[in-house]
Every structure is written in C-alpha cells, then in structure tokens.
C-alpha cells in the first residue's frame, strides 16, 4: 500500500483501513499453515485477537457451525487460554506480527473486565484494547452491551484503568445501538466497533420439523457474512450520526466496494471476518480493491479517513 492509504486510528498509524474482526483469524494457527509468508504478506493493517477471558475456556460443544444463505451461524463459545495463557503463550507469538496488536477482552463482571484491562494495558506489545460487550454466544456478554446504562457503568469502572485506546465492540442485538454508542463515548471510549454477529439459530436437520431441536451445541449462535451486510450499513450509519469517536465498521464485507460503503456510512476502519474463512488473504485483496476505488474517486466524494 502506498503511504497515501495510511490511516490514523486512535493514535495508531495503520498502513490501510482493513483489519480483522475479533475471533475470525488465528494468526498463530495461520502461521503454522502458511509459514512465514503470513508475516511477509500479512492481510490486515492491525491484528485483533480473539476474545480473552480471565479463565481458560474450552468453548461450546460441537456442532459449532451452520451454513445459511449467504452466511454462517457460529456457536464457538470463545475458546481461549485465559489471561495468563494469553500473556505467556500467545502474546510472544502475536508480538512477531508486522502490525499493531489489538487485544479483545471480555469479563462477566466489572471486576473481571478491570483485571483484564489492567493486565493487558501494562503490556507494551499491545497497542489497544477492544472490549467485547456483545458476543451473543455467552450470556454474560449480552446484557452489558445491550443497554446504555449497564455499559456506562462498566466503562465508568474500567476506563480509568488504562491509558491505551479502548474500543467498545457493540452488540447489534439491541433496540437502539446508537444510544449505547453515545453512552460509550460519554464514558471515555476512544472508538466503537460494530456490528457483532446477529443472534440466530438453526434446527437439527432431519428431525421432525414440527418439533424442532436446536442443532448447534451452544443452543443458538451468531449470524455473519453477506447476509448481515445491510444491517451493518444501517447500524454504522445510525451510530455515526450520534458520535464523533471513530467507528470500526464490519458485517459481511467481502470486497473493496463493501468496505467503501461502510466508510461512506461513517466508519474509519473496516474489519473483515467471515470472508477470511473463504479466502485467507481476503483482507489484503479488499485493501487493494479499496485503494483502487479511492484512487478512482474525486477528492470531493472521498471521505476523510482519520
């Protein structure tokens, strides 16, 4: 990418506006699969970790996936090594990536979140922290991000604990996402990211359709992919109309045009998730497509990114 495509995001200098959505790219496993080419051609301008919790989690029992028209329902359940495992095992490997590292954390109480924010905030390898208050797979993550009041209370407690940029990942499974974003901004969030997956379910194939049973091991799951792109556009636009902090927009982005549409709706950065499953290098392709679209546009229609 040329220098003119660089983005300033919460003080981070990023080579282009495409990052990964949390939990959709495992850079450690990808390096085992693709070798050091992954470092040479890293598809994203910053790497967002999967969600880290205080204690290790195995995740939900399988089955964990269900393909839908133009999308995917997942019921993964946030498997991770826990805070200590992340800091000792994962972080040294993630620090070798050629881009800034954003660590995503989730806790079920303000105390837990505070400990996660403090511990990750102390590490120089971590450039920013993203708070998961929206994962629909885990009951504890749902309530906080679904209401402006509970999110404000959480941020009031944890915001003072770090000087690192704090990004709040909003849940789309709420009546008024913009009101929650306004609360995040008021309580000192440096940015918001949206949308997370939409709550969804799938029934067991072959079972009696009049007595449906949930297919996924976690009961329900979250829908992602092109199926949710229009929802993402609407929610990013609604949030952009109400806050002035930068927005990381995501939801079904599979091309440079989709990325540009979300930038047009008011996002400053774009996260790619499910499309990376279909092509491990999708982030780099989308960044290149976006750059050529932006080069083709007149300055008047090209939204300022920073």
């Amino acid at each position: 990418m040329g220098a003119h495509a660089a983005v300033d995001f919460c003080g981070l200098r990023l080579a282009h506006p495409i990052v990964n959505a949390s939990g959709t790219f495992d850079a450690i496993a990808a390096r085992r699969t693709f070798g050091d080419e992954l470092l040479d051609e890293f598809p994203f301008s910053a790497f967002v970790s999967k969600t880290i919790t205080l204690e290790p989690r195995d995740g939900n029992p399988p089955p964990r996936l269900w393909e839908t028209p133009a999308g995917l329902i997942n019921s993964i359940g946030l498997p991770n090594r826990g805070l200590t495992g992340y800091l000792e095992h994962d972080l040294p490997q993630l620090a070798q990536l050629p881009v800034p590292l954003i660590t995503n954390v989730m806790g079920s109480t303000a105390d837990d979140v505070g400990r996660l924010v403090e511990a990750t905030g102390e590490r120089a390898e971590i450039a920013a922290i993203e708070l998961n208050v929206s994962c629909p797979n885990v009951r504890t993550g749902l309530d906080v991000g679904a209401s402006a009041e509970s999110l404000a209370a959480l941020l009031h407690a944890v915001r003072p604990l770090t000087r690192k940029p704090l990004i709040v990942k909003l849940t789309p499974n709420t009546a008024d996402v913009a009101a929650v974003a306004v609360a995040a901004e008021a309580e000192g969030a440096d940015a918001v990211s949206l949308i997370n997956t939409l709550r969804a379910t799938a029934f067991e194939p072959g079972a009696d359709p009049w007595r449906p049973r949930p297919w996924l091991g976690g009961g329900g799951g979250g829908l992602s992919g092109p199926a949710i792109r229009a929802v993402a556009l609407a929610q990013v636009a609604a949030v952009a109309a109400r806050v002035s902090i930068p927005i990381v927009g995501m939801g079904g982005v599979a091309s440079g045009r989709h990325a540009r549409d979300l930038l047009g709706a008011g996002a400053a950065l774009i996260a790619v998730g499910t499309e990376s499953f279909r092509d491990p290098a999708a982030g780099a392709r989308i960044a290149a497509e976006l750059k050529s679209l932006q080069n083709a546009e007149t300055p008047a229609t090209c939204r300022k990114l920073a």
Binding site: D26, A29, P62, T274, S276, F277, D279
Partner: protein, 279 residues
C-alpha cells in the same frame, strides 16, 4: 507431516472430470501449489455460481482430501451429498475453481527398517482418497527399501454401499485390496470393520490408517483400542475456513478440551480420542 500452503486461495482450472462408479473425480492443474502429503486437504469452491444454487447455498468452501498429486496436478474424489458437493460435481474440463491448501497434517511416516509394522488401510465410501495417496507413498517406500526392509504391500479394507460405489477401488494402487459392501453385491457382505477385526485377530502386529464415515471410524477406533493396535484416523468435519481461524471443526480429546480438526488434524492418533463424534 505437514506441507506449508501458499497464503490465500488460488484460481485453478479443471483439466478433466471422470465418473468412477458412483463418484466423480476432478483433476485440476495446480502449477503454483506445493506437493501435499497424504491426509492433507484443500478447501474448494467453484469460481462461478458458488452461492447461486438452491437455498442460495453453498456459501463456504468445502474441505476435501486430495486423492493424488503429481506434476502440478491434483485430483479429488466427490460424491453429491449437498449443495457444495453438488456444485463441485457439475464442474467439467475448462471450468475454474478456488483452492486453498494443502492444509492440516497428514499421516505419520511409518517406521523404517525390518521392524516396520505392516500397514492396514481401512476406508469407507468417499473416505478413500487419503488412503489412496498414502498407499502410493507406502508402496514407493517399500520399493526404495526393498521388501526385506520395508515389509509387504499394505492391506486395504474398503467398505461401500454397493458394487456401483465399490467401483472406486480401482483408484487405489499399491495395496492388496479387499472389499465389503452393505448389500453384498460384491466382496464381503457386511461391514468393513468386520474384516478389520478378523485381520487383527489373526495378526495384530500392524498399524491402522483409516478414513470414512464417523460410525466406521468409531468402530475402527474401538477395535484397535481393544487390541492395543496403533491407529491414525483421518477425520471429516464441517469447516468454515480450514486453517484454524474459525474454531468450528473441533473434536473432544481424552486429555480434556477440544482440538481443531483442520490444524491439529485431520489425521489424529486414535488414542487421543475417547470416541469419534457422530457428526
């Protein structure tokens, strides 16, 4: 064994497509890909009309073990069992598809030398491709070392629904093949795992390499476990990505928690599993 894949998917061309009994075999030119190791797999998606089918599926690529790989060509064996495999079965010479791979880790190299255990390959239905690729490697190793050092040709025990499906045995070279069919139309009338149990009861100094439907793999696991025979199982799982990103393809392991079939497998030591999951 794991061969590293180029980063990203690549567009390749179907050079030929054959009917083999009830199956379809796709041959694709993959000049830029490395030579994979038996048991590794690829994620495949048709370049055109992927997502335009009934119910607007498929959306995700499909995970398939390769059947053969040589000279910049790969082949895959397919059965039409859903929207993804149906679309892949429609492909003909000149059509294009996206491939990512090779992915995962394949079978472990057999012990060399005079103490090498004989190999028994156990396959069911559309699960035979990794065994065909493995039989080639085992046969080549035997040729290299000589019969005295490398033992005998591997035995291959292959189960199918009927004679039409069993026509796929001709895809397996380099092995002494015996067939079982559910309807008895050819070979042993019954389960392929009955052949395996009898074989091991006669002589249990062997290593078993298996790929097939979950119920067959679970029976192989139990038969080998009872007899303390080492077994490597090539598992199948629904996958979104194939490279460890989505955590969707996990299987529970004996020492607790889950492993990802795509990056920790698809070939797993049977001793690691309490049971092969039903789906």
């Amino acid at each position: 064994m794991r061969v590293t894949a180029p980063l990203g998917r690549r567009r390749v061309v179907v050079s030929a497509a054959d009917e083999v009994g009830a199956y379809r075999v796709l041959h694709v030119a993959d000049p830029d890909g490395p030579v994979p190791w038996p048991g590794q797999f690829y994620m495949l998606a048709a370049a055109e009309s992927w997502g335009g089918g009934h119910d607007e599926r498929p959306f995700l690529p499909r995970a398939l073990s390769f059947l053969r790989a040589a000279g910049g060509r790969l082949s895959f064996m397919l059965e039409d069992v859903g929207p993804g495999t149906r679309r892949l079965c429609e492909l003909a010479a000149g059509d294009e598809l996206w491939v990512t791979g090779p992915l995962g880790s394949g079978f472990e190299s057999p012990d060399a030398g005079p103490l090498a255990r004989r190999a028994i390959l156990v396959g069911g239905g559309v699960g035979i491709p990794p065994l065909a690729a493995w039989a080639d490697v085992l046969a080549a190793a035997r040729e290299l070392d000589g019969p005295a050092a490398g033992g005998e040709l591997p035995d291959a025990l292959l189960g199918f629904r009927d004679a039409q499906h069993a026509a796929a045995v001709r895809l397996l070279g380099g092995a002494k093949v015996r067939v079982a069919t559910d309807d008895g139309s050819i070979g042993h009338h019954g389960l392929v795992t009955e052949l395996l149990a009898a074989e091991l009861d006669a002589d249990d100094r062997a290593t078993v390499y298996a790929c097939g439907p979950p119920a067959m793999l679970e029976a192989v696991r139990a038969i080998c476990d009872e007899r303390a025979v080492g077994a490597q199982l090539a598992l199948e799982s629904v996958m979104a990505c194939g490279f460890g990103a989505c955590y969707g393809c996990v299987v529970a392991v004996r020492d607790g928690g889950y492993v990802r079939v795509c990056v920790d497998g698809p070939v797993l030591d049977a001793a690691r599993l309490e049971a092969v999951p039903a789906h």
